[in-house]
């Protein structure tokens, strides 16, 4: 969208002001995420750029991996600082987050894919109503969901258990699977199913041999959305998990609330890298899915 050659000086000014404004907004979007990376390598126990970090040539004294060591639970002498506690909590949290995330993702993906298949059939009754119920967990604010689930799960003794947290996360994650898989199924050629069945394949075989290979990119994207939803979720965990059932977001929450420690930034840096990986994967999958369905890349 370049400027035409006949543009007047005023138009030029507006055009460059507009580009500058966009650049500022892009900077606003991305700068906070970039800024935390160097600070996580700082020696200082405060979350700031120290003077030593800003000099040129770089001052090796100002940089270190001590907070990363702290994060993985290595509490040797050069790591420990009087203001920053060192414990295995971050690693315990990571293991728990992965555990909850993987189980919740598996259940959510299976249930969500099945439902999406049903919803995409032309004969589905009450489609709009069912769809709005199925995606309601995505719409209702988390704090309301957390309150409602806490009251209800307290009645059936599921609070302060991993089971309760996992059930809650499955409920929160399924809308993402349903939406992504339904979107992949738009334009899916149902004649292929009929062809498979007329050749004698039973429904389950048809699914695994014909449908699934074609919609796999959608299923994987949905699963990744589900995983990140569970992996990033803190409100439910705060209310429904017991004090020692730590997860990464819960530990970060505690870190921000009580001990503003640079270790949070190390974990944050790791999570930014994780999100870059996930974003790339989903984008590649989306392109592959469009290719598979014969939709021309835009």
């Amino acid at each position: 969208m370049a400027l035409p050659s006949y543009a007047s000086p005023v138009q030029r000014t507006y055009y460059y002001a507009y580009l500058f404004f966009c650049a500022v907004v892009f900077f606003f979007l991305i700068a906070p995420l970039i800024a935390i990376v160097p600070i996580s390598f700082s020696v200082s126990p405060f979350m700031v750029f120290t003077d030593g970090m800003l000099t040129w040539p770089p001052d090796p004294e100002a940089w270190s991996l001590r907070w990363y060591k702290n994060m993985i639970g290595d509490c040797s002498a050069d790591v420990v600082s009087s203001t920053v506690p060192c414990s295995k909590k971050w690693m315990v949290g990571t293991v728990n987050s992965l555990f909850i995330g993987i189980i919740a993702t598996a259940i959510a993906t299976a249930l969500g894919t099945m439902a999406a298949l049903g919803l995409s059939r032309p004969h589905m009754p009450y489609k709009a109503l069912i769809m709005s119920i199925l995606i309601s967990p995505m719409i209702v604010p988390l704090i309301i969901t957390a309150a409602g689930m806490f009251f209800f799960y307290a009645r059936i003794n599921l609070v302060y258990t991993f089971t309760g947290v996992i059930l809650a996360h499955v409920a929160l994650a399924t809308p993402f699977v349903v939406i992504t898989v339904t979107a992949t199924l738009v334009g899916f050629d149902m004649n292929m199913v009929k062809a498979a069945q007329s050749l004698g394949a039973r429904p389950i075989r048809t699914f695994f041999k014909v449908i699934m290979p074609l919609i796999l990119p959608g299923i994987i994207s949905g699963a990744l959305f589900a995983f990140i939803t569970s992996f990033d979720e803190v409100v439910i965990v705060m209310f429904m998990a017991s004090i020692d059932q730590l997860t990464i977001p819960k530990q970060m929450w505690a870190g921000i609330r009580q001990e503003i420690s640079p270790v949070i930034l190390c974990m944050a840096t790791c999570l930014v890298i994780l999100s870059i990986v996930l974003l790339t994967t989903v984008e590649l999958l989306r392109r592959r899915s469009e290719r598979l369905r014969g939709i021309k890349s835009r």
């Binding site: 969208m1 580009l19 966009c22 907004v25 892009f26 606003f28 979007l29 906070p32 995420l33 800024a35 935390i36 979350m47 700031v48 750029f49 249930l111 099945m114 439902a115 049903g118 059939r121 032309p122 004969h123 589905m124 009754p125 069912i130 769809m131 709005s132 119920i133 199925l134 995606i135 309601s136 967990p137 719409i139 209702v140 604010p141 988390l142 704090i143 309301i144 309150a147 409602g148 009251f151 799960y153 809650a168 499955v170 409920a171 349903v178 959305f225 990140i228 803190v234 209310f239 970060m252 929450w253 921000i256 609330r257 503003i260 930014v272 999100s275 870059i276 974003l279 984008e283 835009r298």
Partner: protein
């Protein structure tokens, strides 16, 4: 020549009319489709819809205290407040007996409830219970329960305590909703404003709406040009720039919130840069976080992708020739933009605006962490009553009101955009 085919007359090979056979097949298909959706539907209903319904019920539920003092309340309802200053003997007697024989844990729960109605109930009943136990142990039966109780504690002759029963004697009560709007019942059972120092919810509701409106507005102002740029650049570049929008969208909310604390705090990056540039003196650093400003800045950045993405998808399909045509016909660029381009982006603006607004009013994590004292939204009080005061009725009422407001806006969103048009990534 006209050919009329009636399906009723056509038969399948087994001799069943085609219409009937088709209907049967369709029904079978319907059942199959439903069978696929059923497990998830059941799961969501059990783990999500019922809990939310449970919360709605809890917001009007006052049955616990009614199971503890059923007879007292029954007698209390008969008391004619215009005639007698104090309730009749029967009320005192039933309360005495129910306190003496009731389950201690249940009474404890009821006491918490009574204290919401009037502070002082808890200590009054606790003191009285102790004396009652003594009397019961001795095996005495008081001649007048009324006099005995007043003798134990003179507050039993204070009608304001008795008046507060008004709001508890029914199994369903709207008191929590009134509390959530800074109102309570007075002695006559009329709805009145809370004492000045106890009014915090209306203030927070207004702030929640105000912050949401501001955030939506800022997102629109910041998001519109960016979406326009992305929609009009060649795909090679716009796909690249899209990373700037999608990366924050995919990054953990807590990471982004932490990042804003790092940026905005007094020793933070922004203050540091401003001091380095000489705009601020070293001791004139601005407090930008742990207040409403922090909430506004952080929420705007976090919700901006939700504005840009719908706007982008609308703007991408607006033909570029429209603007050129308008200018060809003599419109100045500004006029062409205002009259031709902008009206076509309204669906995108309303979709993005509603989405951002709805997400903003229910926000909890970010305001809680960067909001400090005066940047909290209503989610804060829901969490506070859920975890700290355990006033679950009030918590549920606040949640229900929020839910109701959300649903109105979602209904609007559905009318304008359609819920099934939600897309990800």
């Amino acid at each position: 020549m006209e050919v009329i085919i009636s399906t009723a007359e056509l038969l399948t090979t087994d001799g069943i009319p085609l219409k009937q056979s088709l209907k049967k097949a369709e029904r079978r298909n319907k059942i199959r489709a439903f069978f696929l959706v059923f497990p998830l539907l059941l799961f969501i209903v059990v783990t999500f819809v019922i809990p939310i319904g449970d919360m709605l019920m809890r917001s009007v539920d006052d049955s616990q205290i009614n199971t503890v003092f059923p007879n007292t309340f029954e007698e209390y309802k008969k008391w004619d407040k215009g005639e007698d200053d104090l309730p009749p003997e029967e009320v005192y007697k039933n309360l005495f007996l129910e306190l003496a024989n009731g389950d201690k844990r249940q009474i404890g729960k009821a006491l918490t409830r009574m204290n919401y109605a009037k502070s002082g109930w808890k200590s009054l009943i606790k003191k009285t219970s102790r004396e009652i136990k003594k009397i019961v142990k001795k095996g005495e039966e008081p001649v007048s329960y009324k006099d005995t109780m007043i003798e134990i504690n003179k507050f039993w002759a204070d009608p304001t305590y008795w008046y507060s029963f008004n709001q508890m004697v029914n199994e369903r009560s709207s008191i929590y909703y009134w509390n959530a709007l800074d109102r309570t019942y007075n002695e006559e059972g009329d709805v009145i404003l809370q004492d000045e120092n106890r009014r915090m919810y209306i203030k927070t509701w207004i702030r929640t709406l105000k912050v949401s409106v501001y955030v939506t507005f800022f997102c629109l102002i910041l998001g519109f040009p960016v979406a326009h740029l992305l929609a009009n650049l060649p795909l090679r570049y716009s796909n690249l720039l899209m990373i700037f929008v999608l990366l924050p969208f995919w990054t953990s909310l807590l990471v982004r919130t932490t990042a804003w604390i790092v940026m905005l705090q007094q020793n933070g990056v922004i203050n540091g840069v401003l001091v380095w540039l000489g705009i601020l003196s070293d001791d004139g650093r601005i407090q930008m976080v742990y207040n409403e400003t922090g909430t506004l800045i952080a929420m705007t950045q976090i919700l901006l992708p939700f504005m840009i993405l719908p706007l982008y998808s609308v703007m991408r399909v607006i033909p570029k020739s429209h603007m050129r045509a308008a200018q060809n016909l003599g419109a100045k660029p500004a006029m062409a933009f205002w009259r031709v381009y902008l009206p076509q982006t309204i669906p995108g603006m309303s979709a993005g605006g509603l989405l951002v607004f709805v997400l903003a009013i229910g926000y909890f994590i970010t305001p809680e962490l960067v909001g400090g004292k005066d940047g909290q939204l209503i989610g804060h009080w829901i969490a506070y009553h859920l975890k700290t005061t355990l006033n679950w009725g009030l918590c549920a009422a606040l949640g229900s009101i929020l839910l109701f407001v959300m649903l109105i806006f979602y209904w609007l969103y559905n009318k304008i955009v359609g819920i099934d048009n939600i897309k990800l990534g």
